[in-house]
Symmetry: C3
Amino acid sequence: MKTHTVYRTFHTDRRREFVRITEDVQQAVDDARVNEGLALVSAMHITAGVWVNDDEPGIQADALEWLDKIAPASWQEPPNAVARELLPTGGDYRHHRGGEDNGDAHLQNLLVHHQAILPVTDGRLDLGPWQAVFYREFDGQRDKRLIIKVIGE
Amino acid sequence: MKTHTVYRTFHTDRRREFVRITEDVQQAVDDARVNEGLALVSAMHITAGVWVNDDEPGIQADALEWLDKIAPASWQEPPNAVARELLPTGGDYRHHRGGEDNGDAHLQNLLVHHQAILPVTDGRLDLGPWQAVFYREFDGQRDKRLIIKVIGE
Amino acid sequence: MKTHTVYRTFHTDRRREFVRITEDVQQAVDDARVNEGLALVSAMHITAGVWVNDDEPGIQADALEWLDKIAPASWQEPPNAVARELLPTGGDYRHHRGGEDNGDAHLQNLLVHHQAILPVTDGRLDLGPWQAVFYREFDGQRDKRLIIKVIGE
């Protein structure tokens, strides 16, 4: 059995961003010289996720708008009445008592999930035609790490 | 280390459907001749998920109703005022600009998650007594693929 | 390739509870004598999840309040108007027709996800500085099991 581990650091310009990483994961598989196995792609932070989806800007904008409605940020005006009611009772996240401002990022991250496992077949990521892999930053503008671990043979 | 890969194609009669696949995954484990390991079950599309839950029709109907409220389809009347407010601002998903009509399926799929990893012990899927595995179609009526990859020994 | 499987039984005092299990998973990795590999941590029930997040009580309280709003329990008064509208049409979950009262737990569990895969590097869980692992009980006060399966070498 072979294993190969790669760490990648992201420092996004914006607080929230999608970064395509399909090619980075394939590169890790190439470097692992694994033909058959699995690639775990997992954010090492709790306000960043890994999303496997279509590389289509409309979907990303839709998802961001929707996430802001069901897990609203307290650092911006709620986009509508539903979002306002889904904010914590009292108006702000308890997590912010310690000086943080990313309570929404924890919930949005829960919805997006912080990791994905990609199958590797014949040395290639075995994805469907519209599946691309994204690092999904919810609280960026600082260094954050992702781990890619390939196992197989 | 052994690996074994199976692809299965689904073509559901309805747009949205649950298809039980526990036995298909066990068959893949049998064919892999793996006693100890993991089975990755992953949709190869971005509007289909894998759900591990009770094989109980009430839960499935509850989940479908609930998903339609928090990630509403724009091709049907929103079921209530909350769903209407959770639709995109302006009324339709940006993803639909290109002619698609499955913007909701992308969001619902995010909630259900597109994959699961099942433990294999003594040659059997090591599931709890109420855990069954389902392919969860959100935009069917056409061929869509799922990958099952078993690794172990 | 080595594999090692540990089952742990939880019996929480309260219906809903977070139980930190980072150290239990590390112990399983130690016992597996695996230096490089993966640890699957997966609830064997459909109303319990595995959550990787900050060990900070405010986040847990925020998440519980938020989950109660978007997947409301029918055994308690909905916390606000949005939660009331997100309850099933007719007021109660179909799943409750058989005598169950945990319809909300199935939905909340979907959001939290029932499993996580942890990378193992140099014999240690390769987690970020704020990542802790929790068993997330949604319907406790009875025995429920979790599986930890470590594979690698």
